[in-house]
Assembly symmetry: C2
Homo-oligomer: 229 residues x 2
């Protein structure tokens, strides 16, 4: 198992049994998510922005108009924390105190880099596009030079990162509360693709491509499965 | 419509047509989410942490062990940005450039306050518990004095905040790309509750309570619906 460098801020305080630093788990969580929340410091205060992202090997690419503004203002890299969280279920215990959430989350820290090279920008946009909808890069019209120039992309290396997973039942199943006449268990949560809605402004009817129709009813985290069949 | 105070950082740069400052929209987005991502500044760098939250009127309460550590270190309030995002669908355009995501998001800025008063802590924990699973506060065993003391809760006033919504089709439906033989549209995404899993360690079988079984198959954002019937 390939291990990530461990630093003070990726060392776990509470619930260290839930934490990990292996690269495979990190990649799996990043690949399973749809959006991330990235944090930057703006005028001394934190700012947390949701955006799409993609992964190419050990680099994460973010669509980053907000971050890129401060990045350009700083004239170089800025500190970023990028977090991806998947909620897998509500953990309903007998006591309010033991309530929890089953989740998988990944936190990536690092200095961001504005991607300016056209070739890397294409790699980045392919990663983002195919992360969100696998197969879409080969299907849609690729960016023109002008569009490429108008798109801001930020790169973040997967160097300093940690993953955290909770995947178990209520925490009061072995204490005195176990005998209370209160139901306890896990209420799963799943995020699924629905049925595609054709653009009502389309010039003529066009069949939904297979890489899109293959997603219907699938969990968003399994979106790569149809291509792997 | 009650308007929130508008500041530089809650004034929209890009896509201002998607932004809003009314309190009703803010409340609706906050009430529809399950977790938030809050950002704090730790040793000068941003840190983004997922956690559960709840709303009581114009105050948001967060479970905040990480934030509370730095809050206590700072000996008072710290700057927080709390973001809640709901992904409603992938917007698949003809051109990669016009790809987007339909979403609802809320960003709340402010100085946090550590909740130490026991009565307010109970209000906060009720808000968080019933936010995640409505009806659960009246069903589960309430926190003891010791448990209450061991729980860290952070309050954030809903004063400086903005909401953003994208809910439309592909952006290239009226340009030259409209005639390309490429399907375009929206692939909806929904987050649903599954079937409850009994705690296998339970001492004896207990029926799933109605406020939990009523959630099965429901979108998480509609979790208040069964109680409102």
């Amino acid at each position: 198992v390939s291990q990530l460098t461990q630093t003070a801020r990726t060392t776990f305080g509470r619930h260290r049994e839930r934490g990990g630093h292996d690269r495979e788990l990190l990649h799996a969580i990043l690949d399973a998510g749809t959006i991330c929340h990235f944090g930057i410091v703006m005028d001394g205060a934190p700012m947390v922005v949701p955006t799409v992202y993609g992964r190419d090997g050990d680099t994460v690419y973010l669509h980053g108009s907000v971050a890129s503004r401060s990045l350009m203002a700083a004239g170089g890299g800025i500190d970023i924390c990028m977090t991806v969280s998947l909620v897998d279920g509500l953990v309903l215990a007998r006591s309010v105190f033991e309530h929890s959430v089953n989740y998988r989350s990944a936190m990536v820290y690092g200095r961001s880099r504005l991607v300016s090279d056209a070739a890397e920008k294409l790699i980045a946009l392919r990663a983002v596009t195919d992360h969100v909808c696998p197969g879409q890069w080969d299907y849609a019209r690729r960016p023109s030079k002008k569009e490429l120039a108008a798109t801001t992309v930020i790169a973040l290396p997967l160097l300093e990162a940690s993953s955290k997973v909770r995947d178990s039942g209520p925490g009061d199943s072995d204490g005195p509360d176990r005998d209370l006449p209160i139901w306890a268990g896990v209420l799963p949560i799943r995020t699924l693709f629905g049925t595609p809605i054709d653009d009502p402004a389309a010039a003529r009817p066009i069949d939904t491509p297979a890489h899109v129709s293959g997603l219907v009813g699938l969990a968003t985290e399994d979106r790569r499965a149809p291509l792997q069949r």
